[in-house]
């Protein structure tokens, strides 16, 4: 019996299956070559063998040990078998340890074996062995791909969207086990998060494009209108010039905010971590915002314990407070109150900006810190924001190993709280 070299081949084949990149790089010729010489009936028996290996291998080794053979050749065979068993044990552990789900099917596409991760990925407790792909994942493209691998020996990668038990996207790589080894293997990867990030990126690019083009369209349009004769329209010309000025400012702010975000993203703005007196930073920020508060007849109050300090980057923290105060002032109707207060909670120091403004509906709160997320597009445009302020705030606070939270009640007001390590 020449079993060991076959096992090596199967092992290699299986490894290739597990590593889609490697499998892809192996041509059909190589696969055929690999499976040449394999004895018939191999796969099903092999699969049972490999999965049961962890428990059986000790017994197998014991059997090997009891075979007291003086013959050197027999000993070499036994050693080789031992080595193969060890390799397979390692492989079985690797398959079980994978994040990716995996199944092996017979020539008809019926699942013979799978790892535990597959259950998690498919989100099911049901018995998988003995089922057909279509029963487990109700997507014909996957079923077809498995049958293609089994019958025509064609490997493929399919993307499968699942609605239940929760919405996710799987990337499934399916390979035939080989010409003389009937069946297929499939590796399931959950790509939901990757897809989400791709969408976020695309949305961001589309948003940036929209946000930049709108002020440019206004500037260009009004300049063209003035040039084509409106300059002598004494009633409207001054308004047009005013709009051009305002939209240019908006464009400038947008570009600065985008650059700031990109610097923060790229880690090009290293934040220091020094002992900062929160009372001091808060006083500077509120002094800077005093004129705009006074312009709206808002009362700007400061309540920070004199000994309260945190580990932070003073400039970044001031920027955070300016941003939060600016928002609070914008969204609080005339005669209201904006309060900046601090307290120590355990080993954390907190700074809160509380307003008596419009408040934010609960459904918006989870997305409030996203780039260009707008609670009310019309309203934020009136207020002249770039849609990036809170995103920058979150970036800066995270950079200082802190967090930022928001609590709000419609018609009552909002409180933004920055939590930092106390010092």
């Amino acid at each position: 019996m020449n079993e060991t070299p076959q096992l090596h081949r199967i092992l290699f084949l299986l490894l290739a299956t597990l590593l889609p990149g490697l499998a892809a790089s192996i041509g059909a010729g190589a696969l055929t070559d690999l499976s040449t010489g394999l004895l018939a009936g191999g796969l099903a028996a092999f699969v049972s063998f490999i999965i049961a290996l962890a428990s059986e291998s000790d017994a197998a080794r014991a059997v090997t040990r009891t075979e007291e053979v003086g013959d050197a050749r027999q000993r070499a065979v036994a050693e080789e078998r031992d080595g193969a068993l060890l390799e397979m044990q390692t492989l079985a552990a690797a398959i079980e340890g994978m994040d990716e789900g995996m199944w092996i099917t017979d020539a008809n596409g019926v699942v013979l074996r799978h790892n535990e991760a597959l259950r998690t990925i498919l989100g099911t407790d049901q018995e998988l062995v003995g089922q057909r792909p279509l029963f487990l994942v109700r997507r014909t493209e996957l079923h077809d791909a498995v049958l293609r691998a089994c019958r025509e020996g064609v490997p493929s990668t399919v993307e499968v969207s699942m609605d239940a038990p929760r919405s996710k996207t799987l990337e499934v790589h399916i390979v035939p086990l080989g010409a003389s080894l009937p069946g297929s293997a499939a590796v399931f990867r959950d790509v939901t998060e990757r897809k989400r990030l791709e969408r976020v990126r695309q949305d961001f690019v589309a948003n940036v494009s929209h946000e930049l083009r709108t002020p440019i369209a206004a500037i260009l349009g009004y300049a063209e209108t003035l040039r084509s004769g409106a300059l002598s329209d004494a009633k409207h010309a001054p308004q047009m010039v005013e709009i051009i000025h305002r939209q240019s400012e908006r464009l400038g702010e947008l570009v600065s905010d985008l650059l700031e975000l990109s610097r923060l993203d790229a880690g090009e703005r290293p934040l220091s971590s020094t002992r900062v007196s929160l009372g001091e930073v808060a006083r500077q920020a509120s002094e800077a915002m005093e004129p705009s508060a006074a312009g709206k007849r808002l009362s700007l109050q400061l309540r920070i314990p004199p000994d309260l300090s945190a580990r932070a980057d003073p400039k970044a923290l001031e920027q955070v407070l300016l941003n939060l105060l600016d928002n609070a002032i914008k969204y609080t109707p005339e005669g209201g109150t904006v309060e900046l207060f601090g307290e120590r909670v355990g080993d954390r120091a907190q700074l809160s900006v509380k307003d008596t403004g419009l408040g934010i509906e609960a459904r918006h709160l989870p997305r409030l810190f996203e780039r260009f997320y707008r609670v009310d597009r019309g309203r934020s445009r009136e207020m002249g924001g770039t849609g990036l302020g809170l995103s920058i705030v979150r970036h800066l606070v995270h950079g200082m190993e802190g967090e930022v939270r928001v609590a709000s009640q419609l018609g009552v007001g909002s409180t933004f709280t920055v939590v930092l390590p106390a010092a």
Binding site: A218, G221, A230
Partner: protein
């Protein structure tokens, strides 16, 4: 005086369009959201809707679809205004029945010219020496009416113009480029699937009578010539 409904949520841009289109002699009204635009359109009965594709409440493409499906509004011309300059948005809009598009940032002068061109094409739709017909299809330009074996078929302004163009040129192959230029008034800088989509929809609406529009593979379309038809 043609009426134009401006659908734009950016106040500054809405004012810019109002100023320029009024100066060009149009009567204008403005809506700042998709829902407001749909209800305003029913009362104002505009000849043309200038439609921003990014609206605060619903996607502009949805507003376009609702306009083209409304029996009272479907003949209103729609010019899309979009900040998303990506070709796919424009093509999608044209396939859904928009008459033209303008990309932000646009030249106000060019926009006014485009609007005039679309309105001129619409006006030409009702010109003609009399009823055009082929097989059981009859097109009456004056009444803006199409019937198949006596039953009226509801067509959008573009579908009407497409059918009229084909009926005026029976037996002659019309390339996609020619149709894009003569029916849509745009040069073939965008993918020509727009033509195919509209031909498909037109055939569907005409039912069995639509078979008279033949596909000339790789070239375009033609209306089966009467002698061949006989």
């Amino acid at each position: 005086m043609s009426r134009i409904l401006i659908v734009e949520d950016e106040q500054d841009l809405a004012n810019l369009l109002t100023y320029n289109l009024s100066a060009a002699g149009f009567e204008t009204e403005t809506s700042h959201s998709g829902a407001a635009a749909l209800s305003r359109a029913k009362a104002f009965k505009p000849d043309l809707v200038l439609l921003d594709l990014m609206l605060p409440d619903l996607p502009g493409s949805e507003v376009l679809r609702l306009i083209k499906e409304d029996p009272n509004l479907r003949r209103t011309a729609v010019v899309m205004v979009t900040a998303k300059g990506q070709e796919s948005d424009r093509v999608q809009g044209l396939e859904m029945g928009a008459d033209d598009y303008v990309v932000k940032p646009f030249s106000v002068r060019e926009l006014a010219l485009r609007v005039k061109a679309v309105l001129r094409r619409m006006a030409r739709d009702s010109e003609g020496t009399g009823v055009l017909s082929a097989g059981s299809i009859k097109l009456d330009p004056a009444r803006h009416e199409v019937t198949v074996a006596g039953t009226e078929v509801a067509l959008t302004a573009l579908e009407f113009r497409l059918l009229k163009t084909l009926l005026e040129r029976p037996g002659r192959v019309q390339t996609r480029e020619v149709l894009l230029s003569d029916v849509w008034g745009i040069e073939a800088e965008i993918t020509t699937r727009t033509v195919d989509t509209h031909i498909k929809r037109l055939r569907e609406k005409l039912g069995a009578a639509g078979d008279i529009i033949e596909t000339v593979r790789g070239v375009g379309y033609k209306l089966a010539s009467p002698d061949k038809d006989a």
